[in-house]
Symmetry: C2
Subunit: 345 residues, 2 copies
């Protein structure tokens, strides 16, 4: 593939309103940028026509509004591909096809768009998902924020596989696939212009391989969930309520890197509430916990068993997740009302 930067397009180096208008300038943008990066087939008709292997279909969507657009360890394009691929993976699906919808702000440098497009192409290639259809809209200066990206993903779920909150059972071991807090801290440090001793890079990464390895090793995975907005606290609370079971996690077993812990202290964040973009929790039967951990550690050395599913929720349980500290004292791990970090993804 020829990835030479095609700028300027028709004598302009910035996005114009007309790039969203359905005319020649829009066609020029599609031909010279999107078709170049994603392949011609993604741009030729209103809907992509696709073959579908046997199995159930998984469909997911996410919009990405992260600021800044480029950050240590990633950018909005990479995030938009891996984020949606990860949502498919969490349903036990094999990712197949991706749609891309751009909302561009008038005046965005085309060079910025190109960098993002190339990053998306490379991320898609890395996980073997095809970008098959897309859409571009342009809004006036001051009515957007550079670029917003929606990606929707289609995957196929192997027959009989039901990886979902309702499959969570009492006694299930809760594993986390790696250290927590890096994505949120990478973004915040960049946004606030903070420099730490070492640059903290986002954990932004595809989760296809560790999940595929769990499944092909015959682990009876009950549920998977990527630990994104709201962090571990939000995810465990949501799954506790959806499954109908209380959960208990051990504070010292939750992996957080020293530099991330330090940055959290400086910035005033709790790492258990910070977003990640390449980490997930897995719920597996207790007798398969050690084998699962071994598989996860072959991908991320700091994967951990962090707790277990306990008793059924009673109707008036409002705090289903407890956190045990080093002294064995339990406290409630509640969700926050909002988000400590807006526009983290």
């Amino acid at each position: 593939m020829d990835l030479t930067c095609p700028i300027p397009l028709q004598n302009t180096s910035h996005v114009l309103l007309a790039h969203g208008g359905g005319g020649k300038l829009m066609q020029d943008l599609i031909d010279k940028m999107f078709a170049m990066a994603f392949g011609k087939s993604c741009t030729s008709h209103d809907a992509a026509q696709l073959t579908m292997p046997t199995g159930e279909l998984a469909l997911t969507t996410d919009s990405y509004v992260v600021q800044p657009l480029f950050f240590p360890g990633g950018d909005i394009g990479k995030l938009a591909v891996y984020g949606t691929v990860n949502d498919l993976t969490m349903a036990g699906a094999r990712p197949l096809y991706l749609s891309v919808g751009f909302i561009l702000e008038e005046g965005l440098p085309l060079e910025t768009l190109w960098r993002i497009v190339i990053s998306m192409q490379q991320a898609a290639q890395a996980v073997g998902i095809q970008i098959v259809t897309g859409d571009t809209k342009v809004v006036e200066r001051g009515k957007g924020d550079g670029i917003f990206i929606n990606t929707s993903g289609v995957g196929v779920i192997g027959s009989g596989l039901k990886i979902q909150p309702k499959a969570i059972a009492p006694g299930d071991a809760i594993l986390v696939s790696g250290d927590l807090g890096r994505h949120g801290i990478a973004i915040m440090a960049q946004r606030e212009g903070l420099a730490f001793e070492t640059t903290i890079e986002s954990d932004c990464a595809p989760l296809v391989n560790p999940v595929q390895d769990l499944l092909s090793a015959g682990i009876g995975v009950h549920c998977l969930r990527d630990v994104t907005r709201g962090g571990l606290a939000a995810v465990l609370n949501e799954l506790a309520i959806a499954s109908g079971f209380n959960m208990e996690v051990i504070e010292r077993d939750i992996p957080v890197r020293e530099d991330v812990r330090g940055a959290c202290e400086i910035l005033g964040f709790d790492p258990l509430y910070v977003a990640n973009e390449g980490r997930f929790v897995a719920f597996v039967p207790p007798d398969q916990a050690d084998k699962s951990l071994e598989i996860l550690r072959s991908h991320q050395a700091n994967a951990q068993i962090i707790g277990q599913v306990t008793t059924p929720l009673s109707p008036d349980d409002i705090a289903p997740v407890t956190l045990k500290n080093a002294f064995g004292i339990a406290r409630i791990l509640d969700r926050l009302s909002g988000e400590q970090l807006p526009r983290i993804c």
Copy 2:
């Protein structure tokens, strides 16, 4: 379904940044608005798990940024459902599932969001498509414009059906499914605060039924395309290039209502370049043109045969679409460079 307005939510009547944060406020928005309108199943997991009938899969995506959000004949929500459903329909697909991604601006009245959500639910119900998964992001005041909506659609294509530009053949009759120009003029009149003698309503409508009727009557449809951004001129030029054939249309046969024609004159627009949201062109074998017209007219009385596909394009043909006026004089129907009407959809 109980469609009582659930506002205020947790003591607020406007969108807060925290509504996009993955915490309790976001869950509240999902539970009280989206689950109420779209059904609980759409909100419970990262990816929707769906059964898929046999056939090829169609996938399409569109973002909607129309201003104003409410206009005569529709609103951004109705547009977001029908627009994407129509893209599936144009590929000959039966629409099945829809994803919805909201990008909300901080401060949007929740009452506005609710009206849009209900409009989406009613539109989805009208065409029998299920909204199965969604996402919500919130951006700061001044970084968006009230609400942007992405919808992605999945449909199934009956076996053997290949409705696409490459199937267009010389001699094909070109039909348009109804009068042109209403959507763009409805938006512009609203935006400019213009009042005409009669209110011109958008043609915003689903195209499933007329297309289904063409197919079940055994019409050998070669290609379908909804006449949206850039109007008839953009669509015919795009299809001429994609198919490799020149096309000729007869000016007086192109249906444009008198009031729309008058409004176009006042506003300085050419109706052939104005966007529609409930009209399509169909390419059918010449011997099936009359039967096709009869079917289209059973849905819209002003459907018309407007022209035909002529000779193969030679490599240096740069103006593949010609328009013949009442005196038989042909002129080039070129595409515009940009769009006369930004943010029309």
